[in-house]
Amino acid sequence: MYSLVKQRDTVNKWMERFGVRFGIYKGGNFHEQLFPFDPIPRVISHKDWIEIEAGLIQRVNALNMFLEDIYNEKRIVKNGVIPEEFIYSSSGYLAQCEGITPSKKIFSHISGIDLVQAKDGKWIVLEDNLRIPSGASYPMIARTITRKISPETFKQNAVFDNRNYSTMIRKAMDYVNVDNGLEVILTPGRYNSAYFEHSYLAEKAGVILAFADDLIVENDTVYYKGLFDKRERVGVIYRRISDEYLDPLAFESSSMLGVPNLMRAYAKGNVAIMNALGNGIADDKGIYYFVPKMVEFYLGEKAILQNAPTYLPYFDYDKKYVLDNLKTLVIKDVAEAGGYGVMFGREMNDEQLADIKQLIETEPRRWIAQEVIDFIDLEIMDGEERIFRKADLRAFVISEAETKVWHSGLTRYTRSPTSFIVNSSQGGGFKDTWILKK
């Protein structure tokens, strides 16, 4: 591993050449930046992994059952486990998806579950991402490069290969494919923050990278327009465009990125869309609170993986606790993502605390509060020096005939020593994630 650490700059240079970057919008301008790679991998022991894996499979299975239930019978609401308000007032709930059963009843084909390891060694789920979780391509390409630059590292360490991610995606696409049609990844284009990933996955999975213009819906069937306008039936779309922009006739009319009438083809079961539309209801920050309860409700099991201790001001008993302990809690706006709308009580002055108290009082449903998890620091290289930074892990879970966890993950670390927010849109870098074979 030492040789790998020495070659950090070489790895980063290769990644630059491969175009491994992500775009961000700041002040109305688009610019791309590199995603810095740190050569010291996060290593997860085989024993730890066995438990994480079982916990993730259980969690994602429950979330898939929840989505099926919410868009059909709503047993979990009728049984009083989740108050109806949390469903109907969530921006993630799409009434347009009521009664639609996706191909093979899978809603979340690719789930990105964000975990941290607490100082006592326990793994804790911070967030579920069931819409368009991104980031798997970074450890994939990092591994490809590091294996070339430092092959001896992987001779000496028994690490699960992670370059099979594209095969897993492909299998998931094959599984839900309707009538053996063409398989495409639908991208909003090169101004999307994850465009590198779209093109890389398409290449590695051996599927077509399509732009909205390449797809056309006629007779409630989706076609890909190839060379000379030759049409081919599409059976599955791994879309990287969010729900509201996916079909201008069903959702946001002004969307130029979408495929008109795609929703009609989808509703008639003529095409599979992964991930399904309407998944936002399951990764709503307010719904997160209920995930361990979902595991019990749908599977009759205790949740293996725990949530961070979370409070919903919606419930009076939680509201009192939150208002009394604001200074030690982290407050999150349920409508925001990507590290935005996250506030730490200890960083706020009295005026800000009063403001947020007021907001919690007037719109309790909009906020969740969590205990700040003291999660472990990971070593990273800063020049020639080893320093410590907070890091999380996004695990990728693939649901097809079975639910499987990718034997790797995206480990992101913070740039600033005092920050707890690791989202790549907030700066920071990433590491490879090693799962040991024994």
């Binding site: 007779n219 409630d220 006739l249 009609r264």
Partner: protein, 259 residues
């Protein structure tokens, strides 16, 4: 019981040729407790591929595609419905109790809510009537001021609006008072434009109320589509490729057919 004959034609003329034209129309009535379909037809031109389906709210949809160049688009929906008193027995979908895109209550809605006190013993209809009366103090009918994008809150800010704005505002007021309410698109007896009104829910039944005319609906309103708000009930939507100006003409006529 009355029979209503309707003819609803929309014609869009493009200044230049357009192609790759996708459309989605809600232009034909569905069957409800109070409304039977005797005849129903929709002719769309120029010739394209058309399929018929239903959205998740149960509204009838004609959607299709015209790939070739064309300089106009027209659909002509005609038919006859038979109606009794406007009411629909249905299990309540709690969805209609919560704010939606166009009906988000903010300061203007709140101001109205604060200014009207609903007697606790009032029936749901009485409450709706009181809310509608209060709304009319803050909004007058005026076309051309608001657009299909205008929310209830924005229309109240202006203080003027059309049927869509009246409906959104009253829906927001109802829902905030715990009365389930939904948006309806359709046709009114007579000649002119398409119309929008609301349905409120009481004891297992949806009833119609027209806030633009401040009255309960008995018969004479042909119901096309319902949903949380306008976004779920747009009568015609389309996207096409081409740089063209559009001229839109709508002809609507609903008349009672003598038995």
């Amino acid at each position: 019981m009355i029979k209503l004959k309707y003819s609803y034609t929309t014609r869009i003329t493009f200044s230049e040729n357009v192609y790759r034209h996708h459309f989605l129309l809600r232009c034909a009535p569905s069957i409800f407790d109070f409304q039977k379909i005797i005849e129903e037809k929709c002719v769309i031109s120029p010739n394209g591929t058309v399929t018929v389906g239903r959205d998740s709210f149960g509204n009838l949809i004609y959607n299709g595609y015209i790939g070739e160049f064309h300089n106009y688009f027209e659909f002509e929906a005609t038919g006859v419905v038979e109606q009794t008193y406007y009411s629909i027995k249905e299990v309540l979908n709690p969805l209609y109790l919560y704010p939606s895109k166009y009906t988000q209550p903010m300061k203007n809605i709140q101001k109205l809510l604060d200014s009207v006190i609903l007697p606790t013993e009032a029936t749901t209809l009485e409450k709706v009537v009181l809310l509608s009366a209060e709304l009319r103090k803050s909004m007058t009918y005026q076309s051309g001021v608001t657009s299909i994008q205008t929310t209830a809150e924005e229309a109240l800010e202006i203080g003027e609006g059309v049927c869509q704005d009246f409906a959104h505002s009253l829906i927001a007021l109802c829902r905030k008072n715990g009365i389930p309410a939904r948006y309806v698109s359709g046709f009114m007896q007579g000649e002119g434009f398409t119309h929008a009104w609301i349905e409120y829910y009481e004891n297992g039944v949806w009833y119609g109320f027209d806030p633009t005319h401040d009255r309960c609906i008995e018969t004479g309103y042909i119901k096309i589509a319902h949903g949380r708000d306008y976004a779920d009930c747009a009568l015609d939507k389309g996207v096409f490729t081409g740089l063209a100006q559009q001229k839109l003409e709508v002809f609507l006529k609903v008349e009672e057919q003598q038995q």
